[in-house]
Symmetry: C2
Amino acid sequence: MKQIDPPRLNPTINDIARVAEVSLATVDRVLNARPGVRETTVKKVNRAIADLGYVRDTAAANLARGRVYNFVFILPSNKNEFLTSLETQIADLNTGLRHERTRLSFVRVAAFDPMALAAAINAIDTRQVDGVAIFGPETPSVRDSVAHLKKNGITVVSLVADIPSSERDDYVGVDNVAAGRTAGQLLGRFLGARRGKILVLTGSMLARDHLERRLGFDEVMGQDFPDLDVLASLEGRDDPDLIERLLPDTLRDNPDVIGIYSSAAGNEGLLRFFEKHQPVPRPVVVAHELTPLSRQALVGGMFDAVISQDSGHLVRSAVRIMRANSDRMPINIAQERIRIDVYLKENMPQ
Amino acid sequence: MKQIDPPRLNPTINDIARVAEVSLATVDRVLNARPGVRETTVKKVNRAIADLGYVRDTAAANLARGRVYNFVFILPSNKNEFLTSLETQIADLNTGLRHERTRLSFVRVAAFDPMALAAAINAIDTRQVDGVAIFGPETPSVRDSVAHLKKNGITVVSLVADIPSSERDDYVGVDNVAAGRTAGQLLGRFLGARRGKILVLTGSMLARDHLERRLGFDEVMGQDFPDLDVLASLEGRDDPDLIERLLPDTLRDNPDVIGIYSSAAGNEGLLRFFEKHQPVPRPVVVAHELTPLSRQALVGGMFDAVISQDSGHLVRSAVRIMRANSDRMPINIAQERIRIDVYLKENMPQ
DNA sequence: GTGAAAGCGCTAACAA
DNA sequence: TTGTTAGCGCTTTCAC
C-alpha cells in the first residue's frame, strides 16, 4: 500500500506555546489577532507557527467557542420551480446542519427590484449574521449595501447571478455566458441542416444571468450557425401569464420559428402555450433548469435538452464558502465550481 | 427574516445523564453499544435519548478519541488519464483532509484481473483500515473478499463500477446504463437524418461499467434510431496500442461508419488513429471522460461530445460515505449521486 | 502584556 | 454494573 503522506501528528497550540516560550492564552491571542500582545511576542509566536506548520483545528475551536454560524440567503420573491427548489434545499440543509453549528434562513425580496434588494441587505442585523448569499440584480445601490456588509466583517457571496463590481467574496453559480453558448451549440446541432428563425425567451435584461446567457447564445449562433436567424429576446419577466399572452403574437408574426431557447424561468408559460396550440412540427427547444415541469417536458418530448445548475450544490457550496470565509480558511475551488449540467431525457437523475 | 427552524440548543450527554439518572460514562457506554450495562439501564438511557432528540456531536467525539479515519482505494493499475485523475484527486484530498483526521491511500492491482483484486482486498490490514473503496470487476472471489472485509467491520464502497451482488455498503459512480443511453441519444441526434454504421469501442466485457454502457447504448439506438446499424463492440482493453492496431482493419471492413461511441478508456488510441489516417468526413464521436486529451479533442473538433463523471466528486463522495458509515451517521443521498455529465466544447469547466 | 485554570461535548482509563 | 476523573485542542474569563 502506497502511503501518500507521512502520518505525522499535527502540531497543536501546546507545541506552539512550548516552542515560542509563551502561554496558551498568548498563542490564542496571536492566532485570533486579538490586541494586547507585544510586537516581539507576536513575531515569536508567528515564527513558531510557521516553523511547525501549525493549522488550527476548527472543530475544536468551534467546540470551545460554542460558535454558531448564522447565514442568510436573499432570494427573489417571485414563485417559480427553480426558486422553490432553492428554498427546499436551504431548508433541508438547515435541518441537516443543525448539529454542525450552522443556522440557515432566507428572505424574499421583489424580483428585478434593486431598491428592495438594497433595503433587504441593509436590514440584515450585522451583529447576528455571519454571512449573506445574494441572488439579485447588480446596481449601484446593491453594491453599496454589499460594501456595508463587508465593512461589518460579514462574508458575502453572490448566488446564481454574479455581482462582480461589488466587494462580494465569491460568486456561486455557473458561467452564464458559457451556459448560453452551450444552449446555442445544442440547439444548432439538433436542428442539423434546417434553416429558420430562433426565438429566445428571457426574463429581464436587468438580470445579469439572463443577459449573459443571451450573450453567449448569440456568440455561438453567429459563429457556428449563420443560417439560423435569432430574433430579439422576448422578455417574459419570468411571469407565466405574461409569456402565455406574448407567445401567440410573436409566433404568428414569425411562422418559421424552428427553435426556441427558453433561457430563464419561462418554461411554465411556454409549456402552457404548447399545450394549447400544439404547433406542428414542434420547434426544437432547449430550456433552463431541471424541475418537475421541465423533466416532464423532456420525457414527453416537448423539450429536447435542458441546461441546468444543481440547486443542492449551489446551496451547499454557498454555505461551505461562507463558513470557510468566516473561519479564514481556504476553499477547494474545484469542489465549489458549479457545473453547467446538460440533461437529455436519458441522463436525468433518479 | 424567516427562521426555518427554532434555534433551540442541542441536548448533550449531560442532559441525557441527568434525565436518565445515570453517569456520563454509562451514557457513553450505551451510545457506543459497549457491553456491561444492565438491560433496564440501557432502556432508560435510550428513552432519554429519544425523548430529548439527542444527536451525538461527532466532532467532539473525534476530538476526545483522537480518532483517525484510514481509508484505502483499490484501483486498476493500467495507465490512463481517468485513473491518473482519480489518483490525483485522492492525493489532493488526502493533504486537504490531513487536519480533519482522515488518511487516504491507494493500491493498484492488475486491470481486469479478479484474482489479483481479491488478493489485494484480502491483503488489507483490517485492524488499521476503516474503509475500502474498490474499482474493479465483479466476480465470486471479489464478492468473498468483500464479505471478509464486512465481517471485520470495515465499510466498503464500490467505485465507478458497481459490485451489486456483494455486501458493499454503497456504490459511488454513475448509472452506466443511463450513461450509455445518453451517448446513444446524443450520437443519434447529432447524426440527424444520416444513415450508416456505428462503431462501439469498449474496454472489456468483464468490466461491469463497460457492459452496462453498451447495454444502454443499444437500447436507445434500437428504439430511437433504427436506421443506424450498430456494429459488435471492439474490445480495446483500454490499451492505446491495441486499439490503434485494431481500428484500421475494422474501418476498412466498414467504410460506412459515420459514428463512434468510445465508451471506455480508448480515447488515446482512437485519437492516434485519427491523427494518422485523417478520415474524411470524420465520423461523429461521443466519448467518455473529460481529460486533457478529450478536452483537446473537443476543442479541436475531433470529438463532438464527452460523457463524464467528476473524479473529484467520486473521491469526495466515497470518503464522505465511508466516514458516515464509520460513524454510523446518515448520508445525504442527493449530494452523493454522481451526475452523468455531458460536455460540449462550450461547457467544459475552466 | 501575559499566564493559570476552567470548560466546550465526548471518551477512556481507573475505581468502586 | 456503574461512577469519577482526566484530557482531546481550543477559547475565555480572571488574575497578576
